[in-house]
Symmetry: C2
Subunit: 335 residues, 2 copies
DNA sequence: TTGTAGGCGTTATCAG
DNA sequence: CTGATAACGCCTACAA
C-alpha cells in the first residue's frame, strides 16, 4: 500500500510519494533535488510542485547513509562556557548557515585524551569536517578517509589548516601603546602555553628595542592569578601588559587595593578584548583577539576543504583597542 | 567479495565483517550491540572479541535510518555567544554525555520565525528531543511524531516541559538584601519581557510591604541602557535593583561618573550572577540565575521524555550572592 | 538462541 | 532525459 494518508495527520511524505504523484520514478525526484543533474524543465516543475504540495524534502538520514557523510560540521571546544569560545562558535555558525550545514558540538576539557574521543565520536557521525579550538592532541587526532580538521590556535605549531592570531604582533602593539604612554618600567604578566610565550616575545622585543627592561610575573589566565601577580608587582612598575583580560581584571583589582591609580600611576593593557574589557573599571585597553573573525575564517577554511579546495592558512592580525586603562591624562587634581 | 582488507589501511569494519569472523549472522551481532536482546554467553563474547579486534561499533548512520531517530539532542539558543547561554550549554553537555548523546546546535536570534526554521531543521535530522532557551515561538514549534521540546525560560507561560527560574523570588531576595542595608529610596531598572516583569513584581511587593515606594527606570539589558538609567536615577535614590548584570555594569559606571559611592551612597544588586559580576568594581552582588543548573535540569527532563518518562516541570530557586556592591560598611574614615 | 529476509530513504550506476 | 535496481549499514519481525 502506498503511503496515502487517510488519517488526518500528514505523515512525513517520502520520495516515493512524490514520485507517484508526479508520475515519475524516484530517481528523477532525487535528481531534481540534487543540483548539477539534468532533468527536463517540465518534469522538474511537476516534481517540485508535488513536493511542495506534500511538504517533501530529502531526509538527511537516508542521504547521509548512502553518501557516507552528513551535512554536519564538528566543533570541538576546550570548554563550552568560556565567552571567547562562544564568539568563535558564533562566527562558525553564521558562516556555515548559508550552506545548510549545522554544528555538532563536543568539548575536550583541555585534555588530549578526551579530545581524541570527541573527535572519534564526531567521525562516527560522519561530520564533513571538524574545527578544533586550542587542540592539545594536534596531529594525533583520528582521521578517517580524508576527513579534514581545521585548527584554531593549536598548541602544536606543525598541524596544517590553521587559523591563528599573530600573537607576537599583539605583544608589539601592547608595547607601542604603553611606550606612547610614557612607560619606563614595564612588566609582563603571562601564563603557560605557546600563545602567552609569543605575546611575551613580541612585547619584550619591542620594549628592549626601546631600551626598557621587562619584569616577568607568572600567572595562569585566572583572575585570581592576576590578583596575586598584581600584588607581586614591583613598586616602580608603571606599565603592565597582561596576557589575558581575566587576569588583567585581577591585576586591576590588586592595584586598586594598593591605592595605585590606573592609568595615572600604572597603565594596563590586556589581551583578548573579551566582553569584560569594556566593563572593568577603568575600561580596559586590550589587544583584540577577533574570536568571531577566527570562527568565520575557520568555517570558510572547512567549507573549502569539504569542497576539495583547500585554502591557505590564516593569520589574523590583532588590533589594539584603546580604552581608559592605558590613556594617560594629566593627574586629575581639581583646582 | 567480502570486505577483507588486503590493502594496508584498515577500512572501517562493518557489521558483516564482524559477523563473518565470529561465524554468526549479522542479526546476532546486532543483538549483541543492542541491549535487552537475548544471546548466548559464549556467542556474545566471541562477537565482542571480534568486534574489538576490528574496531567495530555500530554506525550511527545506519542505525538512525532504521530507527527513525538519532542520538542527537537539539539545542536552540537565542544567541550562541552570550555567556549565560554558554553556561546552559555546558550544563546540558555534561548531563547528556554519559548517555552517549551529543548536541546539535542551532540559534534563533531572538526571532520566532528563525526559531521555527531551526526547529524544523533539527526535526529533519531526527533529534530525539530539543531544548529551547527563551523561546519566542512557544507552542508554535513544529512537532513531528512525539518529538519533545523542553523549554528553558520561555516567554509563553503555557508551554509544557519547562525549566524556569523563580524570578519573583529573585526580586524578593534583592529587596531583602537592600532593605537589610538600610534602603529608604529604592529604584528598579528593568527591561522588556516577562522575566524582568516578574523580578520587578517580587521586588516591588517586598519593598511596599516594608513601606518603601519603588522608582522604575526602563532599560533593555544592555550596558548602555544601564548607563542611561544610572544617569536618570533621582538624587535621593540609595538602593538599586537591576534586572541584569550587564545593565548593572552600566549603572555602576554612571554612579562612578556622578561621584556617588557604591555601596556607601547607593547600594546595588544585579541579576544573573554572570561571570562579569565578580569582576566589576566594586564586585557586584547579584541574584544567581544558576544557568548551569538549568541546563542540567533541562537535559534531565529531555532524557526523561526520550525514555518515555516525562518528569515534572522544574522551578529553580535563585540565591543571592552577596558582594561588595550591597554590603554597607561604616564610611571608611580612618581615625 | 539463532538465522533469514525485508525495509528504512536516499543516491548512483547502468541501461534504455 | 529517464527508469530500474543495487547498494549504504543496520534493526527486527518471523521462522526455525
Amino acid at each position: 500500500m502506498p503511503p496515502s494518508s487517510p488519517d488526518g495527520l500528514t505523515r512525513n511524505a517520502g520520495i516515493r510519494e512524490v514520485a507517484r504523484r508526479a508520475g515519475v520514478s524516484i530517481a528523477t525526484v532525487s535528481r531534481v533535488f540534487n543540483a548539477h543533474s539534468t532533468v527536463q524543465q517540465g518534469t522538474r516543475e511537476r516534481v517540485l510542485e508535488e513536493a511542495r504540495a506534500v511538504g517533501y524534502s530529502p531526509s538527511p538520514l537516508g542521504r547521509n547513509l548512502v553518501r557516507g557523510r552528513s551535512d554536519l560540521l564538528g566543533v570541538i571546544l576546550p570548554n563550552t562556557g568560556f565567552p571567547l569560545y562562544g564568539a568563535v562558535l558564533r562566527g562558525i555558525e553564521d558562516t556555515i548557515q548559508a550552506s545548510g550545514m549545522s554544528v555538532l558540538l563536543a568539548s575536550s576539557r583541555d585534555d588530549a585524551q578526551i579530545e581524541v574521543q570527541a573527535a572519534q565520536h564526531l567521525l562516527r557521525h560522519a561530520v564533513d569536517a571538524s574545527i578544533v579550538v586550542n587542540s592539545r592532541a594536534g596531529r594525533n587526532l583520528p582521521t578517517d578517509r580524508d576527513l579534514a580538521y581545521v585548527h584554531i590556535a593549536p598548541e602544536d605549531p606543525a598541524v596544517p589548516h590553521r587559523v591563528e592570531l599573530d600573537n607576537v604582533r599583539g605583544g608589539e602593539l601592547a608595547a607601542v601603546e604603553l611606550l606612547a604612554g610614557g612607560a619606563r618600567c614595564p612588566a609582563f604578566v603571562g601564563a603557560p602555553g605557546r600563545e602567552s610565550a609569543e605575546r611575551e616575545r613580541g612585547f619584550v622585543t619591542s620594549m628592549e628595542e626601546a631600551g626598557r627592561r621587562v619584569r616577568r610575573v607568572p600567572g595562569d589566565y585566572s583572575e585570581d592569578s592576576g590578583l596575586r601577580a598584581g600584588m607581586a608587582l614591583p613598586a616602580d612598575v608603571d606599565a603592565v601588559f597582561v596576557a589575558g583580560d581575566l587576569m588583567a581584571a585581577g591585576v586591576l583589582r590588586a592595584l586598586h587595593q594598593q591605592g595605585r591609580r590606573v592609568p595615572t600611576d600604572v597603565a594596563i593593557v590586556g589581551f583578548d578584548d573579551s566582553l569584560i574589557a569594556p566593563l572593568l573599571y577603568p575600561r580596559l585597553s586590550s589587544v583584540r583577539q577577533l574570536a568571531y573573525d577566527m570562527g568565520v575564517a575557520a568555517a570558510q577554511l572547512a567549507l573549502g576543504l569539504i569542497a576539495g579546495e583547500p585554502g591557505p592558512d590564516v593569520v589574523i592580525t590583532p588590533e589594539l583597542v584603546r580604552r581608559e586603562s592605558s590613556i594617560r591624562v594629566p593627574s586629575p587634581r581639581p583646582p
